[in-house]
Symmetry: C2
């Protein structure tokens, strides 16, 4: 078995030199820009760790791991156009730097390359891995559509919000983990458990993110505190506040949605989030989902020591400074 | 063996009812809009005809045929955004009707569905069909990038133009034909011949299109005559004119590129195209490529009567009224 650090080195060594986006083509320069932003490479790491945990040959897992990273970055490029986001991890977004057309087209070619690297798995695994990935990609687009639709709706339920996050964020983590398990010929029951682990981990990650957006330390999160509140985003935190506040608080919350003074808007909304119990409900939900995630991992039928790196990864993903 | 009409019915009967874009989701309504525009379904027909010509089971070819049609329509949706085209086949384009974000996202989900339907081929063919399709998709995006790059260049060669058309237009026809051949277990040499047939047919189609854009009958082509000239597009017709005209004509051609009177611009440019021999060279090139295409089809090692429908299809694609 490998440590996370060793797997990370195997991955970086292979794809720092052997990739499709070097060269000076106007099609691939935008791809370089997004792919070279340093990051945790969460999805490839989950795929490699899962394959290794189930005793698979991680060399067969490197290309699909790269495929997951390419797909993730493709979705960021297109989402940033749709959300009109100018900055990602402190750098200009692709469309901001190269224009919307370059963002669309370089995103498209990334999606094709994700499939190309995925197709490099041994042929016996190709049908099951492709079916899983096709389903996942479709769900991700459906999740993005839900997110867009929710902006115009006032009656989004908590369950609908969770479904949106599951599709938009969780399924790619879960898919990465399951591909690793498929490549290691893990039994179907264990494949399902590691998939569920990914779903629950993604949900707890996103709900914690919602809390941090409003109550985190701007310096540590790297984001402006209260961004979601200013955009009237219907996060778990906002929705659970809405559902648990008094009539008076509800009326104030509604007034605040059009409050022009942004400092006032953020601080008063946060007061209601705390006073109504919305904050506590959200924090509890995040914890509960994280516990579910760990329980799913626990239940997988392999020796505990083979899961050590996955438990560490879960902690790394979930725990952040407030 | 089936007639083209029978194959068309098989295809339409299956996918008119069994498709992914019915329902009221905001994600799929734009997909319905583009997929339901009547058309010749050239790519699926080529795939089915090829499979049938080589003695394959056309039932295994229906899903990949649909995949080719979905991919083609996806590329139209994204290209129309990039080209800022408002009208396609007499109807508003997807982004014109539903907005750019809807165009991007519904295009993305179409690409994922193209792969989903492609993945439905029998597992034994999956590696070769996917590799071919991945390569094709990447070439198509590279072709679109060349097209974008050429707009800003004055020194595009005829060979570069042909490469761009090969990537942007021909490879999907060729890929469709080869997938049909793969599903029929055609020998590699015949697969290559039918692929080449598709490449040459696509090139002759596009060059004929360039001629029609300037010299066709607007009523019959359904396009405004001289659209390419007005946009200073570097077509085969324009480039061969540029390379064969006198110094005087070249200077006039350059002046005409900024001529504000559009009637004058089109008619004088066409005069130079005729006088320089650019028109004749282009018409000759289109004929030559079409002959190459027919020769490739001729050379395929199956009885002539099994190629009848493919010859008819080639004629249908190539021959249009001026």
């Amino acid at each position: 078995m490998y440590s996370a650090k060793e797997l990370s080195s195997l991955y970086e060594n292979k794809f720092d030199t052997d990739n499709f986006y070097s060269g000076n083509s106007n099609l691939y320069i935008p791809v370089q820009h997004i792919m070279r932003i340093p990051g945790k490479r969460i999805r490839p790491m989950l795929l490699l760790l899962s394959c290794d945990a189930f005793g698979g040959d991680v060399r067969t897992a490197l290309s699909p791991a790269f495929a997951m990273e390419i797909f993730h970055n493709f979705s960021l490029v297109h989402d940033d156009i749709m959300d009109q986001s100018d900055i990602r991890r402190g750098l200009p977004t692709v469309h901001k730097m190269f224009g919307i057309n370059a963002g669309i087209l370089s995103g498209d070619v990334m999606l094709a390359y994700a499939y190309k690297y995925l197709t490099e798995v041994p042929a016996e695994y190709l049908p099951s891995i492709l079916s899983l990935f096709n389903k996942t990609a479709i769900e991700i687009f459906e999740g993005q559509q839900m997110d867009v639709d929710f902006e115009k709706r006032e009656d989004v339920s908590l369950d609908e919000y969770l479904k949106m996050v599951e599709y938009k964020t969780s399924v790619l983590l879960a898919c990465s983990l399951q591909i690793g398990a498929i490549l290691a010929k893990a039994p179907v029951a264990d494949q399902q458990l590691i998939y569920n682990f990914g779903i629950q981990l993604g949900l707890s990650f996103q709900i914690t993110d919602d809390l941090l957006d409003a109550f985190g330390d701007a310096e540590k999160t790297g984001k402006k505190t209260g961004g979601d509140i200013l955009q009237n985003k219907k996060t778990y935190l906002y929705l659970s506040t809405q559902q648990n506040c008094t009539k008076e608080q509800a009326a104030q919350l509604k007034r605040l949605s059009t409050e022009p003074d942004s400092h006032k808007k953020v601080s008063l909304t946060k007061e209601i989030m705390l006073a109504s119990g919305g904050y506590d409900i959200t924090a509890q939900k995040a914890n509960e989902l994280y516990t579910h995630a760990l329980n799913s991992l626990q239940a997988i039928n392999i020796p505990a020591e083979q899961k050590t790196e996955l438990f560490k990864m879960a902690e790394l993903i979930n725990k952040r400074d407030y």
